[in-house]
Symmetry: C2
Subunit: 333 residues, 2 copies
């Protein structure tokens, strides 16, 4: 298939359009994850980085900078920054979630230990800030240190709220805005900032990243109740087993009768799970149209993402970012 | 005892001299550890912060800034930054070490869980960078992001080298320079930088912090083989049980015969420990004069710290910092 075939996935078209920049990002990531004295650091990092994530966040930074007409070097540093912060949060998440698989491979905390995951995550986080300092932009440091605080806050909120049936959709959205959308938003916004774009473009790209990230996480949570493990690298039912109150469950809970509430209370709040419970949960989701309602929510946010770009200069890149929003939801269509 | 009694501990005299500044640091710490949506964050942080550490690192930042004639506000932000970074590393260390006690209290990972310790540490780290951004000094961000990377690197190095009898004193010093001295050095240096001090003063305060931190950590490692749990909040023998090759053991290993090496290999490398092993280890340390040799090393570094201040303007504060170096070692004299 040629590079220009319109039927190619938007993500692949974006990656192809930014292949040169992305090559430099990968080079920088490899250079900066090295550690002369502690070889465990590049080992653990490479395990995750080379498993080949979608590199969605650094692509957003690169695309935003280019879309705003940037021709310097710093967007490459920022894209590597964003990927380092993302990788650090993945390493820490796996410790927090006690996960066994990530991107279709055993997690670092299983292959090495929790200690390595915690400390290598810390190292990458520090490296991310070093890269930002090199851009000389205090505003970028401001944006990404704020985002880092919001990410951690979202994750902590998830710890305390995730298993509580009283959790409402507001809390759910606060959690996913923190744990996912904050970095998407900061990634796109900081690309515009480093390009010196006008404030309305900076705001537009922030809004785009925020809506895209929310849509992306809703879809992820939906896939956990019915996606295919091969395509996501996740195990279906992970969230159920980890007793996370995600949007599909909240939608099913909204219409639940007494017996159903008792079921959710047992499996999510009390964590007493038996054979067949996941299948029963899937049945309840179907009964209440929870998957459709969740997909509709994802679609609404994808449309918001697309709409956020309206004021930006029309270009191939803008078109790809617009299509990317649709594509994120197409994973469940 | 009056504030001016010379027999007061140097640390207390320093804290008294900087009491106003320190009060503002404490206020800022309380304000910034808050989280509207995730009350678990201030709970976990307060548990550690209010246990009353010595606040040595923020005192270094305040003292360095004042010593260099600073009269602004940013040293308060930097001191809070340094304390946040320190608290974040403590939270993560307790997960890494699987510790049960810290500052004489149960650790956060025991009272809550490892997840909270990891994520609240991440939050404080992000908050630290936000505070630095507020100072508007890219150089300070440079110094403290470098220090953060060196800290994590030292901790990872400790993971891989700690239980290997082939570890030499060079590696030991690299580890403690990372895990302890890097933040002492950055704390003192960044105080001088924010004060706009001449380069030789900036370098002198960095050298002071570095030497003081090394001395401090050597003493800590020595106390682990003979200190009193009440004064340190540590349990004697923690490092032995965690199989860390610290300086006292390295000194004893240097003169060990075959049977002794077999003993160390069993308890440290293989981790097979029985009743009476700690007492046997203490006997070997005594036999080889390991405690004295370790204390001599701490003393040498304390003298280096004192000497580093020679070029700085003479003042009460400088005298207190000089005395602090002696005092750090006096804990084992």
């Amino acid at each position: 298939m040629s590079l220009d075939t319109p039927s190619r996935k938007p993500h692949d078209r974006l990656a192809a359009a930014l292949a040169d920049d992305m090559g430099r990002v990968d080079e920088l990531i490899r250079a900066r994850m090295a550690s002369r004295h502690a070889p465990r650091i590049p080992e653990v990092t490479a395990h995750l980085v080379e498993a080949g994530g979608k590199r969605l966040r650094p692509l957003l930074t690169l695309a935003a900078a280019r879309l705003c007409g940037y021709s310097g070097d710093h967007h490459v540093r920022l894209a590597a920054t964003v990927e380092f912060i993302h990788t650090a949060t993945l390493l820490h998440d796996d410790v927090v979630d006690e996960s066994g698989r990530r991107r279709g491979r055993p997690t670092a905390n299983l292959l090495w230990d929790n200690k390595s995951s915690v400390l290598v995550g810390d190292y990458l986080f520090a490296r991310a800030f070093q890269l930002m300092v090199e851009t000389g932009s205090l505003r970028v440091l401001d944006i990404l240190s704020d985002a880092s605080a919001v990410i951690a806050e979202g994750e902590v909120l998830q710890l305390s709220a995730a298993r509580d049936l009283a959790t409402d959709e507001d809390t759910y959205f606060r959690i996913i805005r923190g744990k996912t959308a904050a970095l998407f938003a900061a990634a796109a916004q900081s690309g515009a900032v480093i390009a010196g774009a006008p404030e309305e473009q900076v705001r537009a790209l922030h809004a785009y990243g925020d809506a895209l990230g929310i849509s992306f996480q809703i879809v992820d949570d939906l896939l956990d109740y019915g996606g295919v493990a091969e395509t996501t690298g996740k195990n279906v039912g992970d969230d159920f087993r980890e007793r996370k109150l995600t949007l599909p469950v909240l939608k099913a809970l909204a219409g639940a009768d007494g017996a159903e509430r008792d079921f959710w209370r047992r499996v999510i709040e009390r964590g007493v799970q038996r054979d067949g419970d996941l299948e029963h949960a899937l049945g309840l989701l179907a009964r209440h149209g929870a998957q459709e309602a969740t997909r509709d929510a994802a679609l609404t946010w994808a449309q918001k993402a697309r709409a956020a770009l309206t004021g930006l200069p029309g270009s191939d890149l803008r078109g790809m970012l617009e299509d990317l929003a649709d594509y994120v939801v197409a994973r469940v269509n």
